[in-house]
Amino acid sequence: MSILTFIKQDAVHLNTARVALFLTAILLVPVVFGIGYYLNMMIFIAILSLPAMGLSLLSGLSGQLAISHGAFFAIGAYASAILSTNIGINPVLSTLLAQMIVALVAAAIGAVVLRLRSHYLAIATLSFAIIVELVIKEWSGLTGGMQGMLNIPAMGALGREATSDIQYYYIYWPITALLLLFALNLSSSRIGRALRAIREGEPIVDSLGIQAAEYKIGIYIISSVFAGVGGALYAHFVGFVTPATGSIMFAIEIIMVLALGGFDRLWGALVGVVLITLLNEYALGFADYKKIILGVTLIAVMLVFPRGLLPGLIDLARSNKYGRTA
């Protein structure tokens, strides 16, 4: 039995192999291209991929859309910032502790709003996000109000902290890759299967003795924690957080990322983040044009590839291939 067939047999092996290959390539990039500003961009891609992957898990598996991922990004960022800045917990630990807070909030909110679906769920999660933003703005004793929090400790532990982009690059990308692997595994496991089934009919799933509601809350929590980890990594990288960090516009931007990359593809989320980051970076100084480009791109992608760019291009490649052989 060759390695390839061994890998093919098991989804976990296949996912691991793909992610390992991807991570290796990513880690080799600085070796080949050296140190440069692009590292900064790549770090943002690693960070923003997390909320995008989180939302992709939710929308891809359960077919639902939440506008709360910006809020959980903010909760992760603020919680870790407060724990590390005010209490002095080290950033690695505070990042982890922050996720417990995110998970608790997500569980509480999920238990309440996940009975809703479709536009109603979207609006309910939007309302929650607006409330979070207000609380952050108003609870200035804790969050620094509109001014936000400054001088958040850099990521690090044991007396060593990351100071340069290259260090962040080598810390953050493995984290993103591991979470990508987690998401891929989850999606190809029996839990992913159950969620895809719930998407088609909750009563049938219930009739099989599966607690559909629990699964929905579970995936909502996991998906929110992805956003929360992204927030914490963001806070310890840029060193400040403000109420704009996880605003409604940010949540909408994540949805646009998925629109570009495909709602049911985890890899697509990465592609979407890369596209948005490049656009942000190269349309710098032309915010009005950036808006025009972004808006027109979204419309064009949706019209040409309704399932998103990545799935669309894959379909296109397939049809061409079959076209040639036929």
Partner: protein, 253 residues
């Protein structure tokens, strides 16, 4: 094994089901018949937990299951097939059947995401279990096809494999022969007997009299939400009350 006592379901002021009591012995095929609106599907929904009863009780192996959530009743060993086959259209047939065995395994979100070894072993077991019942239902050869690609008749077998994979003690089948031709109905009868052969109890609703009469061990007749008659097929066929009820309604023959 199933005992339904004085069961009642009201929607607003209307009683869809009123004071219905009966029981099903283990390993039996029991059929529920009655004109449209007799409350047959309501009865199934109550047993399966999709609806909760207004009054009365339902016992499964001596344990009351009335009013429990559907998932808990599913876990207690009641599975069902639906009037319109309801398969998970975007999943493969194998995956549909694997969902039947889903509840036996414990691997949670974290274990599955981490791809822990035991979750992968579970997955193997799940697959083996699913394949066994696909084999039983005779659709093993097409297991990789998408469930949505199948004709209605075959979707019924996917539902059966899925229900059997849950390890159910009792299967509720709501008009499984609807839309089937004669040969197919015959095959389905064989399948139902095979299910009984595994020791599973079957409660079945259907309109095809020939089909039911040749298949059922016992028949329960409902009319306007009321218990009308109960007995062996031949007793029922000769019951004047039943004949009258059926003649009185012009929907069914």
């Amino acid at each position: 094994m199933l005992r339904v006592s004085a069961l009642e379901k009201r929607f607003g002021g209307l009683a869809a089901l009123n004071d219905v009591s009966f029981s099903v012995a283990p390993g039996q095929i029991k059929s529920v018949i009655g004109p449209n609106g007799a409350g047959k599907t309501t009865l199934f929904n109550l047993i399966a937990g999709t609806l909760s009863p207004s009054a009365g009780d339902i016992h499964l192996d001596g344990v009351s299951i009335a009013g429990l959530p559907a998932a808990a009743i599913g876990a207690a060993g009641v599975a069902r097939t639906f009037q319109q086959p309801r398969v998970f259209a975007s999943l493969s047939i194998l995956e549909n059947a694997m969902l039947g065995g889903h509840r036996f395994h414990k691997g949670g979100f974290l274990a599955c995401g981490l791809g822990l070894r035991h979750t992968r072993r579970e997955e193997e077991k799940l697959r083996a279990r699913a394949e066994k019942w696909l084999d039983f239902a005779g659709i093993q050869s097409i297991k990789h096809r998408n469930a949505s690609e199948l004709p209605l008749g075959q979707q019924r077998y996917v539902e059966i494999a899925r229900a059997m994979a849950t390890g159910a003690k009792l299967i509720l089948m709501d008009e499984p022969a609807a839309g089937l031709d004669e040969t197919e109905t015959k095959e389905l009868g064989e399948m139902v007997r095979a299910i009984r052969g595994t020791g599973t109890t079957v409660l079945i609703i259907d309109h095809h009299m020939d089909f039911i009469m040749s298949l059922a061990d016992e028949v329960l007749v409902l009319n306007f939400g009321q218990w009308l008659a109960e007995g062996t097929p031949s007793q029922i066929q000769n019951s004047e009350i039943v004949i009258e009820a059926y003649l009185g309604s012009d929907d069914d023959a």
